[in-house]
Symmetry: C2
Subunit: 541 residues, 2 copies
């Protein structure tokens, strides 16, 4: 009574199984249309046998064998969250439970198999996110080594549940064995070009979890504003934010973002980009930036971080020491992109320093000089680092565990080849700059990218650990960010999670239409792919 | 103590006056940055003398000479609305008023000068929207022939008020004489490709009033769905809407839209496009659409309205009779665009009819035959009509007062020349299809359009009565419509209201940045133009 499909589109698979099992194909088809897994699991079996779920009897519980129990608040929170996704906010999990009927699915047992469930830990690059999910009567069982895999499985379980014509929740007999293809699946949000209220960040972390993204790359500061409130250097945001009180992230805001993300298995990697992209830093920290010259006198404007002063490195030492305690992730993103040399070139002190160091007129050597010192500073805080590709391109000596982010679209394949050829892990964001918008279904373009489609050995391919969808902030803020990001980023989510063979755009469309309605139902204003409607339209504005 | 500027950018004008009047130019400049009129009035004088407005003493009242009084609920509602825009929702106009201080602006007197203020009327193509506004101590006076001009003046008055550094509302001594350059300034929303909840439509009517738009072109039905609930033919929406209960506009919904629009001086012109774009009509009305043939037998699919059956015209007669009572505006939009002839060509009965009528194989003659009969039907309901340009292009005989809408971008100038050359009034939407999105500040492209830039006599130019920004619905619904429309449509608003000479994009940028923050403050999620921030960011998601 089973159909086995490995790496096949679930939606079609179910429809086919279904026709095989039942006479009334058309009638039942409608129900099964409601099931649309996104991203598609690696392996699954499904049957047309359906069980009902009642909000007054169904429960999500710790299995007896599980190493986690009610004290695991990460899971307890997730149980409540997914219960509410399935049954709606109004129907709380009641104290006085009713008995399940024989035809019901009575419970989902969550079984954490390893000795340490990591309830109070943080996800990392090494995190095992795999899980196994078996839905059968009277219990479904979700098995994972730790809470991180359990979170992914809970999302999948919730996606398997569908409403029939009477509004009754159903789930089909199903077996799933799932794991991500890539370990780094990120979203970059930019809170410098526009300030994003906390509410917007948290809502997008919710949406990320719905799409099994696991890294929030927080491009928190840049030229335009410095909203990060530093305990060590409060003047950075006091003078560098759009507004020192209303447009900042306080230490408790940052903590909340990190904890909210952790509860959803999402790493928070902050980016503090230097030596370029630092105009807003200069407002608060005297002498940090290089004074530009117009002829023989200072022009009044400033360039990148001043690389010739010890005070710059003293500042960075203190600042990154603070960051290493604020952000628990093992990595911090150090930027290093798009350094403009014109200001350095104009400054006579910098010129003198160049001569002393024997750099000639090659300012990329000065850039490397700065970055090298910064990397050593950060390494001394016991953090690993991520950098934009220029840092690698300029020949800076990088720690072995550095993650190089390839963002330039013009020469992407060669760059992947070079970075991995040099033995560095890399992530890809070049094809996924979602701030570039156009008319029509551009999600398909993002979907069709194959990250390993570059010349290289198997060992090189293994060094590509994932990618990121980047929504730079020049044209987005709280008014339009969420619908612009979703479901376009969902295309990237499936590319980074599902098997390489999952490439059918037509099937993806069918599932994604439903997945976006599911996001809308859960309160995320994900924009439509094309003409049509959701059973429940967005309630906000 | 006055600076007089006619047709000059107010923002700069004020800054200049300001420097002239005060020593502390820089300090005061900041206050005046807050004033950004959009669209820019036709004539104004402004001085730097500023008066304060207190929420506990300031009031908006009917002047003693006014023909309108407290029984004019349109104005009473507008007074409350603008009071709340100025002072925030929390601060209600209290019963026990305090006395205004000598330095305050105590009141705005609204003076309707004509005998009939039109409190219970509807705006029309002939409506006089001009107004005069004089702000001085102790009273400001807003003078208009009728309520419609008063509404425009109230918007302008509210835009003149700015908060100083202490959060106190100020307004400068000002004289404004204003009127629209074009009489038809429309927004097209499409509720067929996606259903738009009432809330979304109403919010966008609010935003339209903030931009002095005065026509809501409601593209209410199309191929994809038929959400309009007809009393005469309820089966149209029962079978043609995405959902017969949740995705429809009931008679009371439609009434609410019309009344909400009326209160803001906005005409509602519904579009019922035939004979093409009617797939959804065919679900409810048997035999309305032409059966397409595949060889000698019906293919099962349907084409445009069947033009050879009397029943089609009987239906249209009844249906448009209903519409003529539901929609008070003197015009209804009959569409008539993009008729695909392939189905008609395939149908043997249509072929026979063509021969009988002596149309040969020229199916545009059949199209004209249909349209001609429809126009006569609609004319018999005492309505005027608007049509898309094809109807004119195909040589259909049109009533003298027909408004032809030019939407094709490829040959726009020639089309304007032809339509006006034939003596028809016309509106332009070709350059303003806002559903086409692209990266960056495309509002500038919309802003730079000069609608009268086509070869023709003065008499021809006078026939161009305005234009419309069209947001077709293929890719927009409740999740993303409002930020996609605003402030991009604001560019069209100023082009259609302000003087021809108002073309400075740099100045427009400065004002529009503030105007969009004003919309955000009033609850409209208008997206950012570029990097920056609003004092109050959007509170929703």
């Amino acid at each position: 009574m089973y159909c086995l499909f490995k790496f096949a589109p679930l939606f079609l698979a179910l429809a086919v199984c279904q026709g095989w099992l039942f006479g009334d194909f058309v009638g039942k088809q409608k129900e099964l249309d409601e099931i649309a897994l996104w991203p598609l699991p690696q392996k699954f079996q499904s049957s047309a046998a359906a069980f009902k779920l009642s909000h007054s009897s169904f429960q999500i519980i710790h299995s007896k064998q599980s190493s986690a129990g009610p004290s695991c608040s990460l899971l307890e929170n997730a149980f409540r969250r997914y219960f509410e996704y399935i049954f709606g906010d109004m129907k709380k999990q009641e104290k006085s439970r009713k008995k399940a009927y024989d035809s019901d699915l009575a419970e989902l047992q969550v079984w954490i198999t390893s000795a340490d469930p990591e309830c109070d830990g943080y996800p990392s690059l090494q995190t095992d996110e795999s899980y196994e999910l078996s839905v059968d009567q009277p219990s479904a069982v979700l098995k994972a080594a730790n809470v991180w895999g359990a979170l992914r499985g809970l999302e999948t379980f919730s996606q398997l549940v569908y409403e029939d014509d009477y509004g009754v929740n159903n789930i089909n007999k199903t077996d799933i064995s799932d794991f991500p293809r890539f370990t780094h699946r990120g979203i970059l949000l930019d809170t410098s070009r526009h300030y994003l209220p906390l509410k917007v960040i948290l809502a997008n972390l919710e949406a990320m979890a719905m799409n099994k993204f696991n890294v929030f790359h927080w491009h928190i500061v840049d030229d335009q504003s410095f909203p990060y409130v530093s305990r060590t250097f409060p003047e950075l945001s006091q003078k560098g934010a759009f507004h020192p009180f209303t447009h900042v992230y306080t230490p408790s805001d940052v903590k909340m973002v990190i904890e909210f993300a952790r509860m959803r298995g999402i790493r928070v990697i902050p980016e503090f980009d230097t030596p370029g992209h630092t105009q807003s830093w200069g407002n608060g920290i005297r002498d940090l930036l290089t004074p530009c010259y117009s002829g023989s006198s200072p022009s009044g404007s400033f360039g990148p971080v001043n690389p010739i002063l010890n005070s710059s490195y003293d500042f960075m030492t203190q600042f990154f020491k603070e960051l290493s305690t604020v952000f628990p992730d093992a990595y911090v993103h150090l930027g290093g992109d798009e350094v403009d040399f014109s200001c350095w070139k104009s400054n006579p002190d910098v010129q003198k320093f160049m001569a002393q160091q024997g750099f000639g007129t090659d300012y990329s050597k000065l850039e490397s000089f700065y970055i090298q010192k910064l990397l050593d500073i950060v390494a001394s805080t016991n953090k690993g680092y991520m950098v934009w590709q220029e840092v690698f391109d300029n020949g800076v000596k990088l720690k072995e565990d550095t993650v190089v982010e390839v963002w330039m679209g013009n020469n992407m394949e060669e760059e992947l080849q070079n970075v991995t050829g040099a033995g560095f892990t890399t992530i890809l964001s070049a094809p996924w700059y979602l701030d570039y918008i156009s008319y029509g279904q551009d999600w398909q373009r993002y979907y069709k990218v194959e990250p390993l489609n570059f010349p290289g050995t198997d060992a090189q391919k293994k060094l590509v650990i994932g990618g990121e969808a980047c929504l730079w902030g020049e044209y987005v803020d709280a008014t339009n960010l969420t619908p612009r990001l979703w479901p376009r980023a969902s295309a990237v989510a499936e590319r980074l999670w599902s098997d390489k063979s999952v490439v059918d755009v037509g099937n993806a469309y069918t599932r994604l239409v439903q997945h976006r309605c599911r996001m809308v139902k859960r309160g995320i204003p994900a924009e439509p792919l094309f003409v049509g409607h959701c059973r429940q339209e967005y309630k906000g504005l």
